[in-house]
Amino acid sequence: MNRAFSIALVGETETTFSPEHVREDLFVTDLQVSQSEGDFCTLTIEVENPHVGLLAPGRPRWIWIAWNPTFDPLASDSSEATFDDMVPLFFGRVQGVPNDFIGEVVTLNFLARPLDYEAQKAAVADTLRVFPWFDGVWFAPEDRADPDNVLESRSALWHIDRVTHDVSVSNVITGEDGTITFTGDDVLSDSIRISYGDPPCRQVNVTATIAWDQIASGPVWVIGAPGATRAIDTYTGAGLQKNWPQPGFNVGGGWTVRDSICNRLDGTGRDEYTYSDKIGILGKARDAKTVIVPPWAEPQIVLATFFPGHVLVLKKWKLGAALSVQYDVKRGKSETVTFSLRSNTQSILTDSTDGEAVDLRFSTSEVASPVGVFSDGTFDLPIGKPWARSYITTDRGEQSLQYLILVARARLLASARCVDVTFEVPWNRAIAEGVSCRKNVVISDSSLPGGVVGGKIKSYALRANGDSGQFICEITIGASIGLGGTITADPGTPTYVNAGYVDEGYQQYVGGFAMPVAGEVAYRRVNGDEPNDDGFDFDRLTLDKVLIGPVTIENEAPVQEPLIVVGPENPAGVYDAINTKQTTVTFRLKPLNNGPFADTYEIETTLLSVPKTIDLEAEMDSSS
């Protein structure tokens, strides 16, 4: 047997199997190379006690084991193997000192753990942080870089090659490196065993809450516009100008005055009051109203000759006015997404616990913060615009929703792989097929349900024993109890032109179904839904959207002038009359400081299609 293997103790840098490794540094009597999904491959060997400290400083702690496929244990004159004959089986590091250090035979354990395992895993994880399979929204900032988190939405586990030490991920339902087919003739007799795991989870209930502060600010012109004022003619201009709101004036409801303009355009003239006994009459400027106060009533017809008395000249002001208001609001928003995803699977138990549901709860307040960096260097700010009304109804929000569905899907798929089939095949055959935890197996045998079962290799153990001469490989595959089939979905209503008129992806569809994974599961989209809030769209917040009623300017000069016709000698009476109709500007705004707003989206989903790799409902051949 010793000629069947090469066993070289090497240094950690000798990571490539080379001709100099074709030697026998240890005399092995029993060997097992085993690996389970997600684990490092291990090597356990029984060797003649070398009586040296394997962990002594300077001694090589790594091992190369290679197998000679041409080895015939029954042949009496096995020749020495050459490098070209050898198939490397394992490269790993010794794990510790032997348990029985003084015996003639000692057991050594080795582990195929790459020195750069963490770096490799991180590099692979970086390639897997793609939408919708990864979404930083759902992770705390300190967890986003954790490589293991990229697998939450994938029915996959890490895989570490036992020879190359390459780190990859491997799907637990379908392996990436092909399928090995075994028939009953390939399988060692009576070695097939079927076992059932825990009752599969058939339903995942997801509740996810997204919360953020909707932050919006901006101006709205209420009177006039930038560079254009509203002219106001008035005899109460002084008071109007004095009381014109200044920037910063708090209107309430999240509004303050931003731009305030109220300029007098007719100059600076004041009202004038005089007494005259001269012949003549008025010659004042055009923009004034003159009040003549005659103290007498005779003669009957006065066409103006001589009327001494008081004259009050009221200046009519012309104001150029403009006013804008600024909104600065911070409104609490939350959206809760709920859905239940059920898998379409066969029954394995009649117990009520069969099909138990799992509840998953998610919460995030990260959508208004950068959660990552895109390839072009820009930050991924999920909400996009801090003033957005909704998150889950946006394209980016839909990616977050799809991630949730994928997490639920991963759990259901992994859970549905609940039947293990274990069997043994000859060592040489297993090595020739390149058995690993990245491969699938289809095994056909009349003792199996339906005569055939498929599945991903969950674990394997290559065993060689020098005493018994037994060279076998025990393989365990995981079979899925799904019902198979393909999900089809209605894409919804196009928002631009009829479907088919433009290429897919060129226009948005609303209200239809989308499939995060083609053919497996679909959900009804919410991308066209109107948020349940106060209706303000800060992208289109124009005056008409925020104004209650019109902006009114009452009692301008034409209304005030009739009050001036009768005047007592005391000017105060004239002013009292005017002030009964002061020019008044009025407007009312809708408050924006509303909220918090809470919205719930119940997502309709289809059944999850689960592969059917074992038919538990099929007839079994009891004669075999």
């Binding site: 967890d143 109007l240 409801g253 009533a297 500007v585």
Partner: protein, 120 residues
């Protein structure tokens, strides 16, 4: 058996519920502010006039101004003899007269009210 176990995320429990990122907002629907947001801008004429010499507003009426008689508004009033209403006269009272500045075209309407003030 490995000394080191590789994490199996989807079997290792729920990593998403371990952190409370923010307090839940109760689903109370739409909460509206009761702010009124009413803006009313007004102000009075303070009566802040300036005393000026009379010469500034009076000038040569006879030369500058002429009445536009088409705009004259009058009323005819019957004035009866006290204790003997059969004796009476009718007078035409000017209610308003509009004067026009020939040079500038500006007009001034003079209104005369309370003709009976002081009459017995």
């Amino acid at each position: 058996m490995s000394l080191e176990r590789v994490v199996r995320p989807f079997q290792a429990g729920d990593i998403f519920t371990a952190r409370a990122v923010m307090p839940a907002i109760p689903p109370t629907g739409i909460n509206l502010s009761d702010d009124v947001c009413l803006v009313t801008i007004t102000g009075e004429n303070p009566g802040d006039y300036e005393d000026v010499p009379d010469s500034t507003i009076f000038n040569n009426f006879k030369v500058e101004w002429k009445e536009d008689k088409d705009k004259r508004v009058t009323e005819t009033v019957r004035i009866e003899q006290e204790d003997n209403p059969d004796n009476y006269i009718e007078v035409e009272r000017v209610q308003s007269a509009t004067m026009t500045d020939k040079q500038t075209g500006r007009s001034l309407t003079l209104k005369f009210a309370d003709w009976d003030k002081g009459r017995k």
